[in-house]
Symmetry: D2
Subunit: 337 residues, 4 copies
Amino acid sequence: MIIVMKPAAPQASIQHVVSMVREAGLETHLSEGKEVTIIGVVGDKSRLQDTNLELAPDVEKIVPITESYKLSNKKFHPDPSTIQVGNTEIGPNTLTIMAGPCAIESEKQLLSIAHAVKAAGANFLRGGAYKPRTSPYSFQGLEEEGLLYMKHAKEETGLSTICEVISRESLACAIKYVDMIQIGARNMQNFQLLREVGKAGVPVMLKRGLSATIEEWLNAAEYIISEGNPHVVLCERGIRTYETSTRNTLDISAVPVLKSKTHLPVIVDPSHASGVWEYVAPLSRCAVAVGADGLMIEVHNNPECALSDGAQSLTFAHFSQLTQELKAYAQLAGRNF
Amino acid sequence: MIIVMKPAAPQASIQHVVSMVREAGLETHLSEGKEVTIIGVVGDKSRLQDTNLELAPDVEKIVPITESYKLSNKKFHPDPSTIQVGNTEIGPNTLTIMAGPCAIESEKQLLSIAHAVKAAGANFLRGGAYKPRTSPYSFQGLEEEGLLYMKHAKEETGLSTICEVISRESLACAIKYVDMIQIGARNMQNFQLLREVGKAGVPVMLKRGLSATIEEWLNAAEYIISEGNPHVVLCERGIRTYETSTRNTLDISAVPVLKSKTHLPVIVDPSHASGVWEYVAPLSRCAVAVGADGLMIEVHNNPECALSDGAQSLTFAHFSQLTQELKAYAQLAGRNF
Amino acid sequence: MIIVMKPAAPQASIQHVVSMVREAGLETHLSEGKEVTIIGVVGDKSRLQDTNLELAPDVEKIVPITESYKLSNKKFHPDPSTIQVGNTEIGPNTLTIMAGPCAIESEKQLLSIAHAVKAAGANFLRGGAYKPRTSPYSFQGLEEEGLLYMKHAKEETGLSTICEVISRESLACAIKYVDMIQIGARNMQNFQLLREVGKAGVPVMLKRGLSATIEEWLNAAEYIISEGNPHVVLCERGIRTYETSTRNTLDISAVPVLKSKTHLPVIVDPSHASGVWEYVAPLSRCAVAVGADGLMIEVHNNPECALSDGAQSLTFAHFSQLTQELKAYAQLAGRNF
Amino acid sequence: MIIVMKPAAPQASIQHVVSMVREAGLETHLSEGKEVTIIGVVGDKSRLQDTNLELAPDVEKIVPITESYKLSNKKFHPDPSTIQVGNTEIGPNTLTIMAGPCAIESEKQLLSIAHAVKAAGANFLRGGAYKPRTSPYSFQGLEEEGLLYMKHAKEETGLSTICEVISRESLACAIKYVDMIQIGARNMQNFQLLREVGKAGVPVMLKRGLSATIEEWLNAAEYIISEGNPHVVLCERGIRTYETSTRNTLDISAVPVLKSKTHLPVIVDPSHASGVWEYVAPLSRCAVAVGADGLMIEVHNNPECALSDGAQSLTFAHFSQLTQELKAYAQLAGRNF
């Protein structure tokens, strides 16, 4: 927030405003020009929302600088970032395809899926070893055993690997086995975990919270980056609305909105967004057309028997057909795939 | 809803269920097979939601046939419909581009826009003569004068024309001047108006209500078709959610959902959905990629001075660039454009 | 909106701003003081949202006057209004109880309910003669026949009567039979109908739209009042959210918000808001405690057989018990009941 | 979920269904009666949602038992629970008032507020030592120092104390100083933290997530109770909707809905729900009238200078006036206060 004082504002008025701001726990930076004094306010502007600064003597106008995030802000980093994961690049020149099962069920299953998605053109294997489940009585994942299978799948196929973490312990474990970690929707504002991922320094994909605003999402990214980890990729996975014909409502506009506000790459997850496998192919095409940097898609060797989210998983055949179809769209978007 | 009676259900049990249904004001169709009697229920199933029909004697199971809409239902009309408007076709083989100002401001303005959008490849001119405005003190449109300008624009350019109506009177007036009428979001459940549009028999584009479910939307279409007017096109224009970075949230998944439920064509309006002109081009590409049959886009000769919705209008140059870009996407979708 | 010019702003700068405003179709009122010129802008401020008036030469600051509604605005009418309907008063000194069936089914049914709710202390009989239904195949009401029964019920019991209208025709018909008319949620932004109700001059209860903001709602009231009809009562009936354990989400905070923004009375409808009869009693108590001026409650002689909304209707016994219970809450709120 | 087999179902059909269920990772309990075999399914029913069990041979019907939570379920624990915290009881016979600052700012401030809220009748002191903030650059709380002040305030006033925790570390620290811990909205589905609170065994207040359904919320409570900690209190604090005139939308219906589904006590937080101090008093009255077991209210010695959420904090005078007013409402609700 910038407070512009009136041309002939006396020192008393300037000091009054400065102390109002400081009393609110914020810092000020004075820029005294020849004609006008400008007071920059650093910190959480919401603390000032009830003070009628506008009404203070000799205040000319208040210019809000709405974004509280800085390191993820495009204003201070205009070029799109490219995140390097092993020998894979996520960014403006590529179309990244992450594919695999919702939950890792066995080594055999994971290897079979890994080979299939590799053959179809995916560059990342996804697979859940730690599953945050609504009910405590649901299957919670194979944990470290699942991570080990991910490592084997990587060794066999050369695919990069990504896995969700849900706590400090799972993070510490996962970074020994996989290339990139994922923060799920339910943990988007688990600030403690965000800071730890920031300290870990590993590439991370941050999913949007179930009803997070784009501004809250970029602030969550800021928690990671401000701890020294700039390797952040965002993932739009649908938001919660009143409409029930899809599991969530894919907020496809979030892609161009993010492209105007941040330099971070954006992935779209049509599987979780829709919850229905028939909609995954059209939503994947649309995500590439709108400018997404990649896709995260659930693929399963036998969707009818999947332990988790079978209804939204593609078969090998459907996934292969989809990646074929996406080539033309990637080309139109100027992306290697 | 279909009620399946148990194999040996006696007549008394069957009659008991039939009278429960009839007491709820619904009709029944009995289908007495050799082994099983099936009771079809016709009418609004919600009236039965509190009766525990399942618990009635000798009821085997209840099979909900969830959709209360029939004429718009793909189940009974599997092939996609093509709506003929003058010499224009809206349907699976074409990409329809409707473009023009939010509000008609003057004849000169409208003609200038009509020529520009025609040159860029649009086949429909849109323009508001009756504007439903939140405040009674806002500009409400030129009404019949505006419609007359639409007629002139059609004569000069050969474009088909579409205009929103908001009442019986504006409907009666509009059909004398334009080729297709539009029911706006606020009137999606103005059932009286829907019936009158049904009786009028003219091609109509029905926009989705601000927070209408897809099922409510198809039922609104059913109001029109059940009066004898099958020339209905749907238009997704964004739904209301908590996210404020766009004016509404474009529910892009509605396109594949509708394609699975109805045979009616679907148009996407990225201008009203986003409210921000910079997002119109990416959202247009994505709508074509996801399978939409067309687009409705606001174009203005001078967006900064538009009487309504300037922020979401494209300039002639941007619109022309967009239609160029859309050609490749239309081709991938197998549509003439 | 008020535009404050800088102290020494030359006439050229003032005229530039005035013409920017007028070009947007708005009127200006100049107030030229000794030191400062203030430009008042009359009309829909949203038309100016894209013009960067703040950046125009010699503009000191812009003070938004956010509300576009005036006649319903508490600022210009600080005392709460009392709406007289026959010999009934709706306002700050009374607790108005409107009760009756969702849909009028027969004369016998209506009279039986009328006597029961009268005995329990209600002062209004509600009953639907025109039902806006999602599906065209649902029961749409008895229409004029139902209105006639309402008239009879009034004659027999002395209750005031209220009935929903959905079109010009039903409005013209209803005002011959009932004391007050209701605009339902689906027609809250049927501006044509609002204007006609405004011209009719009869007392009207305006329900909140399914996903209307409070500001849109007050603007809808403004449509009615600006046609010369100040007899407007608002009715909160729940908004659409993601939560499905109730039919809608009762926005109980809307009552104090409205009390701070408007002088119009506010009624709460816990039956439609929750859709579940067990929740009607606690929500009624809470509505009185929060400051509502009345309640609209569905009561049915035989909820299990109701043609519409049986699940949310109270029996006579439950309604009578509730009105007994409400007496203490009305007393705490300083209201006659 | 209970699967009812047809009367004469052969063993082969029964075994087929059993294996379908087991293949989905769920357990079965067979109950073979004289006429009918019933198969109880234990586990996450959603895993079966895509298998068409209904279509399997000899299945008569499927009776969903919708709730996946058991220990928090009223069905298995019909009487309302009373949670003992020190010498305070939270439950059906009392009205619990938790009051204090959003964030603890200094010892002097906290003690001054503690004495004021004690004098006004509060039985709990609330105060934030760990603040989950949207931006990493906002004030994050005094942490252990703040907890120490809470301990002093308890010693001086005899109030019970409650404090939010955001991680394993803050939990371990907090239980040394305060009587009850709080899980905030952002951590409602931080399942790791829920489990740890379950193991810690301390009284806990679980706030509803920003857009959590009531079912998700009760499942979150289940995570805590299933680890052996039954001392759980729920807190409704508003949900995220499109309406912006309040910070969140208080879902007041959640109180009667919870009362019908769970035996756990329910507290309402009108301060966070509305974000506006003027609305706190009416919303508090309405929460007591609807059946809440208590209130959590922000009180500050100087709201204009509060480091966090000043706009929603009551002054001492307003809080004292409110507690006076609530006495009559508590009496009507049959609660000691």
